[in-house]
């Protein structure tokens, strides 16, 4: 299975002949030395900044003067003043709107991408004239930078110029209406990343044994039965890996919201947009970090659920 290349267990290093413990130990030392630059880089750009974010999430701190922070426990998350004003971000309705919109976005875009990706992959996997052209065309939306596709679609949604906004909808400002904007954004994301899904599914399809289908044809199984009974179950591992990674990407979506809707609306359509607004625009290092930590926890929890529930194996 090509899709699962990284998930297959590592072939044990060839252990022909007898290796003395001395060689083993020195190989282990070499391996650590070879890994050192990567480990240091990861500690520097991921480990330490993550630690700082967690540290600031329990501090009252301002972005411009991070050194003058004071410990306030979990008050960034939940705190009510004597006057009854809720200051924690969990008490901010905008945060919950952002969470709801992000979840809607994730569920629908990933679902549609999987369905469309499956259709495209099945089409490209069958023999027809122009197959290699379609296979190439598939790569184009994927290769376009997200910001560029956001602008392209913002132009098409434009209520006075746009093919969709002006042409199809007769001058409705789709992006100005938050309840409709989320669907417009899902359409953009589906367009942009269906190809990626289709590529992964296609790779899975091509690893399925062809003689199995010949046998099924002989037995008179319809194409429909073959799809549900053979293709889909066998594709499960490839599909799951693709699903996990698309869901995680969708949960941390930022670019298209920010570019198409602007900083303020983005803060109520994506969790990431909300975090960035608190952190950078409002300069609230403490609150912003607390939001970041919450997003981190949400995403890591989902990873763990996926991995344990579906027994996805990454090596």
């Amino acid at each position: 299975m090509t899709t699962n290349a990284p998930t297959t267990p590592p072939p044990a290093p060839p252990a022909r002949g007898k290796r003395t413990p001395g060689i083993e130990a020195s190989r282990a030392r070499t391996a650590i030395i070879l890994l050192l630059p990567t480990l240091i880089a990861i500690a520097l750009v991921a480990g330490f900044p993550l630690y700082r974010t967690i540290f600031f999430s329990v501090q009252e701190a301002n972005l411009t003067t991070p050194d003058q922070s004071t410990f306030i426990g979990l008050q960034n998350f939940w705190f009510t003043t004597a006057e009854g004003i809720g200051l924690g971000f969990l008490q901010d309705p905008q945060w919950w709107t952002a969470v709801r919109n992000t979840l809607i976005f994730t569920v629908f875009s990933v679902f549609l991408e999987t369905v469309f990706g499956m259709i495209i992959a099945l089409v490209v996997n069958s023999a027809f004239a122009g197959r290699s052209f379609l296979r190439t065309a598939m790569l184009i939306p994927w290769a376009i930078p997200t910001v560029v596709s956001a602008q392209m679609w913002a132009y098409m949604y434009n209520d006075s110029f746009g093919l969709i906004g002006q042409g199809l909808l007769g001058g409705q400002a789709l992006l100005a209406d938050p309840s409709k904007a989320i669907w417009a954004l899902i359409a953009v994301d589906v367009w942009k990343t269906t190809s990626f899904m289709a590529l992964l599914i296609l790779a899975g399809l091509q690893s399925l044994p062809g003689d199995m289908y010949e046998a099924a044809d002989m037995d008179g199984a319809s194409k429909w039965t073959q799809f549900w009974r053979m293709t889909l179950p066998l594709l499960r591992p490839a599909l799951l890996v693709a699903l996990v990674f698309r869901s995680l990407d969708a949960l941390r979506v930022f670019d298209i919201m920010y570019v198409m809707l602007g900083a303020n609306v983005a803060a109520s359509t994506s969790m990431t947009g909300y975090a960035r607004q608190q952190l950078i625009d409002n300069q609230l290092l403490g609150t912003g970090s607390a939001v970041s930590v919450a997003i981190f926890i949400i995403i890591m929890t989902i990873v763990v659920i996926y991995v344990t529930a579906f027994r996805v194996k990454f090596d």
């Binding site: 630059p37 991921a46 376009i144 930078p145 910001v147 602008q151 890996v241 975090a275």
Partner: protein, 283 residues
């Protein structure tokens, strides 16, 4: 089962429907981009025209001249290139060391290190944004391409390590053993024996990492103020007044930024597909 002979009309109906589907898919995939290309060649005054007249309106290169005359766009191209190339070069170097170690050596804690690297590749960039911002300002790297380059390692390194490791495992072990028997040191083995074999993998991985770095928006938006990278320039492209969105130049700039990527992707498409699927576990 041969539908063509048993039921010709059914067969042709199926074929027609199938090609119709192919046509719909192709249009869906290509149309938005084609429309952007068309817009980039139209005058600002023609943007209001109804679609048919818009398509036949006179072609102009004005938008492109304007985009290349824009100093912040030119700087954006330069900074994007510096940052993306730098991040990819560092990642490929470090990543191939790590991939060699993870793909070929046996040692305690390997599984743990692989999980760490995987965890970093799935973790949301926002989780480090605040921490990284304070560090970048502390080291006076704000608005400095070096700071951005270093921060991009957070997604380019796990990605290259992961993909290269799966490639290294596919290299037959005999090659390395032969070098070992000849008394080559691990570094010699890596550079003289494995690197040449890994070349296609390095190109593919590098290209994919480059695309990710070239497209990155959140860090570029946050850690740079005047030295913007291309995606930020395109997102903020403004016209004469605040309310005037210059769609022609925006589309032209978008095309300029996208064409190199599409060209590279089309040239290396075979490798890209294998790289993407090998690195399905990507950040």
């Amino acid at each position: 089962m041969n539908l063509k002979r048993t039921n010709p009309s059914m067969y042709y109906l199926q074929r027609t429907l199938f090609y119709l589907l192919v046509l719909v898919i192709t249009a869906y995939l290509l149309f938005p981009f084609a429309w952007a290309v068309l817009t980039s060649f139209r005058r600002a005054t023609d943007l209001f025209l109804p679609p048919l007249q818009f398509m036949t309106a006179p072609t102009t290169l004005d938008n492109y001249t304007q985009v290349f005359g824009n100093p912040s766009f030119r700087r954006g191209l330069l900074f994007s290139t510096i940052v993306a190339v730098g991040a990819v070069a560092v990642s490929l170097l470090f990543g191939s060391f790590a991939a060699y170690a993870l793909g070929r050596f046996r040692f305690k804690g390997k599984q743990f290190i692989m999980y760490i690297i995987l965890a970093v590749s799935v973790f949301p960039q926002i989780a480090v944004l605040g921490g990284l911002f304070t560090l970048i300002t502390r080291f006076r790297l704000f608005d400095n391409p070096l700071g951005l380059m270093v921060s991009y390692l957070i997604f380019t390194i796990p990605f290259t390590v992961w993909v290269l490791t799966s490639f290294v495992r596919d290299i037959p072990g005999e090659l390395e053993e032969a070098a070992l028997v000849d008394g080559a040191s691990p570094l010699q083995t890596l550079f003289k024996v494995l690197f040449p074999v890994m070349m296609p993998a390095l190109v593919t991985t590098g290209l994919l990492a480059f695309i990710n770095a070239w497209n990155e928006y959140l860090f570029a938006l946050t850690f740079m103020s005047t030295n913007r990278t291309v995606p930020v320039v395109i997102a903020n492209y403004s016209g004469a007044s605040q309310f005037d969105q210059p769609w022609g130049p925006i589309m032209a700039a978008s095309i300029v930024v996208t064409i190199p990527l599409i060209t590279l992707v089309l040239i290396f498409q075979r490798n890209i597909v294998s790289g993407l699927t090998a690195g399905a576990v990507k950040g």
